[in-house]
Symmetry: C2
Subunit: 246 residues, 2 copies
């Protein structure tokens, strides 16, 4: 039987993992899934994700692909994969894909969500939120977000210690700040994101919300293409990869 | 300064604790709170909870009391207690109470909620749900619940290995089965509960929902005052103590 390409969607609680991609230190989500695949398929399998998520970042809709000969149908593969994974990782779907499908190179966009919690969160919300112990000016954050929408060079909003990038231009299609009770959700959608870009966008929006930076100044930082101290990186625990578009 | 009585409300993720009350094995939630109080008050303090919760059971509104001389006001006590606790335990409020307030003996009722999830739950829901891999007949569960409401001897719904009880009569004021999407919430309120009673009620309702037991049979089991094999104990992880009434 010839191997075919499989496309999988997975969810994970990133709290206790060293991020998506295999690292020298700690257990990566990719390692755990590959180990399970090896058990199920009885041979080593490499998976390719749509992109990395950092240590501590969560996902509801990470996508990856791999090649395997599996004669028992997709439903049985899904059950076999799910059964042996730890509770923090779930395979949501496993489906045959076109032979040229590529989880990373064919992605046309991604949606992330970031959770802020105003004040001390309860033990069920805390591991998935950035707790902010002051009021935030939501209207100012929304105004700042409008300066970031569209096609721009986002060099000012990537990590200084990240990999060298040639092309730092991305299109931000959506950046919503939605308050409901003590919870503030930041929804961020675009054609692609630089290293730590979402957490940098969230960080600068919070700085604006705290009244430490004017909404218009965010546009100036963007145009400067230089990261400044006003751009803090929001903690990993509040970030969720929601969906990868193809 | 004379000690006064304090009433606290706390929330906890019971996943990694050996239940509320100090045990020979494992770390109990009570131990952790008492250790924090000792640090803050600079002397050993004993706390009294509204009742025990088993290992793995969660709480949004557990209540306890203790006596302490604390000259700095309730807000500062709350902050001092919160600061040093692990993320799985949160003190929601700390307020001076009447000298004769007793968290257990003065409780007039409790509300619990239990989460079922139909099918495989995602990593964020799974630690707080009982996953049920078949459809449930919700109407039959609701009919069975009606047989349990009111004042009854609930001896058939306590654990066989529990402490000897003289008085096993309790009043069940509310037992709702609410389905929303793949989630089924069971809300349970009464003047008091026997050892593992909520989990036994949930267990028998699920047996009815699976079609293995008729709704009317639940009334017969109740009247028999004898636990049978049809009364399974639902897993601890789905159970939340929501509120204690005074």
């Amino acid at each position: 039987m010839k191997p075919i390409r499989w496309k999988c969607v997975c969810a994970y609680d990133g709290t206790n993992f060293a991020g998506w991609q295999s690292q020298a230190r700690g257990v990566a989500i990719q390692d755990v899934i590959e180990a399970r695949l090896q058990t199920v398929l009885k041979q080593p399998v490499r998976i390719s994700g749509s992109g990395r998520t950092d240590a501590g970042v969560h996902a509801h809709g990470q996508v990856f692909h791999f090649d395997a000969a599996w004669p028992h149908g997709e439903q049985k593969l899904l059950i076999a994969l799910r059964t042996g994974l730890p509770p923090g990782i779930q395979i949501k779907s496993a489906k045959p894909a076109r032979a040229d499908f590529h989880a990373r190179f064919q992605a046309t966009g991604k949606r992330y969500e970031y959770n802020l919690h105003l004040g001390d969160a309860d033990p069920f919300t805390r591991p998935y939120s950035w707790m902010i112990f002051r009021e935030l000016d939501i209207k100012a954050m929304q105004a700042a977000a409008r300066h970031l929408l569209g096609r721009h060079d986002f060099r000012a909003f990537t990590a200084l210690n990240g990999p060298e990038m040639n092309d730092t231009t991305r299109t931000l299609r959506r950046l919503n700040v939605i308050k409901r009770g003590r919870r503030v959700r930041i929804v961020c959608e675009g054609d692609g994101f630089l290293y730590k870009m979402v957490r940098s966008l969230v960080g600068v929006l919070v700085t604006v919300g705290e009244g430490k930076l004017a909404a218009e100044a965010v546009g100036e930082i963007l145009r400067s293409r230089q990261r400044t101290e006003a751009v803090q990186t929001a903690p990993a625990c509040g970030l969720f990869l929601m969906k990868v578009f193809y």
